[in-house]
């Protein structure tokens, strides 16, 4: 044994609760050079953009400012409108909340393949039983006046 004493009675147990200022971490994130423009296109024009690395022949969705495989910079000329349609690449029905409790109504989350990218988003207007890998889906945008410049400007993807 490494140490000579132990706590042996529950009544002696003590944990320290740091109270209100326990772990005060709050952040405000920019979307980045690519994200700023990507969300602007969704917000203003309802268009989804990818960026294409000619060398690797890959179109990233969402668009980026660099290719992760070869680290080439992807510039304005490399941005491509990839349309608002894709296919379900993988999906899951989430039964627990972020706090680990059972949800009243499970939510459907999918990785939607558009060009060479996977947009992670909700599925809507469809029954969980009907979802399958390879299912064509289309982005349902929020009305323009409700868009704020973020991934949630797309309401969900729905089958078509």
């Amino acid at each position: 044994m490494g140490i000579l004493q132990r706590i042996t009675r529950n009544i002696d147990n003590r944990y320290w609760d740091p109270g209100l200022i326990g772990f005060p971490v709050k952040n405000s994130y920019t979307a980045g050079v690519a994200g700023q423009r990507f969300f602007e296109e969704i917000k203003e024009n309802g268009r989804i953009f990818g960026s294409k690395c000619a060398g690797c022949d890959l179109t990233y969705v969402p668009a980026r400012i660099y290719c992760e495989r070869c680290l080439s910079g992807l510039e304005e000329k490399d941005w491509v409108d990839v349309g608002d349609e894709g296919t379900v690449y993988a999906y899951t029905e989430v039964h627990q909340t972020k706090s680990g409790e059972a949800k009243e109504k499970p939510s459907l989350i999918a990785a939607v393949k558009i060009a060479d990218g996977l947009l992670i988003h909700r599925l809507g207007d469809c029954l969980p039983e009907a979802v399958h890998i390879g299912m064509p889906v289309k982005a349902e945008f929020k009305p323009k006046n409700e868009r704020q410049g973020g991934i949630e400007d797309i309401k969900y993807f729905k089958p078509f």
Binding site: G2, I3, L4, Q5, R6, I7, D12, R14, Y15, W16, D17, P18, I21, G22, F23, P24, V25, K26, N27, S28, Y29, T30, A31, V33, G35, Q36, F39, E40, Q148, G149, G150
Partner: protein, 171 residues
């Protein structure tokens, strides 16, 4: 440098970029709550503070009396089991007069500044300090080397915490 590195990345944003709402921001906070196991040594340290005592441990090999108490000597690397009461007085090793709160907000005019100090506790080995606050003293009068004594909260208000000592005041 100029021959090979000509361009430096990094797009600086101004306060106006942010306040105008032109830049999209996502906000989030980490909703993690913690309940730390105090363990044997700190458990006893806190329990003794509640009684109005400061307790330390002594290593049988190097004879150091250390604060906060621990169940092992980090230098000799052996278990420690010799508990020693030390005094609630000591000497200021160093201090500061701090005009900002923990969250970086400014101490307002009329409010007292925070007076943190490292206090070498009497009865512990030389140099064995703890961080605490000073009180009942004009900031300009604080000196390194000054003798100080703990001012305890009334017994009924103590919870078994380092804050059971309100602060140290000069004697």
């Amino acid at each position: 440098m100029s021959e090979v590195v000509k361009v430096f990345g990094g797009t600086a944003l101004s306060e106006k970029d942010i306040s105008s709402g032109k830049i999209f921001l996502t906000k989030d906070s980490l909703d993690c709550a913690y309940a730390w196991d105090t363990g044997v040594a700190i458990n006893r340290y806190l329990a003794e503070l509640k009684k109005g005592n400061i307790i330390a441990t002594r290593c049988r090999k190097c004879k150091r009396i250390v604060l906060p108490p621990r169940l092992f000597c980090e230098l000799c690397f052996i278990p420690v089991n010799d508990w020693v009461y030390v005094h609630d007085s000591g000497v200021i090793n160093t201090f500061s007069i701090c005009h900002v709160h923990w969250d970086a907000s400014r101490v307002k005019a009329g409010e007292d500044p925070h007076l943190p100090a490292v206090i070498e506790i009497d009865g512990a080995s030389p140099g064995m300090g703890i961080m605490h606050l000073l009180g009942e003293v004009k900031p300009a009068k604080i000196k390194i080397g000054m003798k100080v004594k703990a001012v305890w909260r009334p017994e009924a208000e103590r919870t078994g915490s380092i804050t059971d000592i309100k602060y140290f005041k000069p004697i």
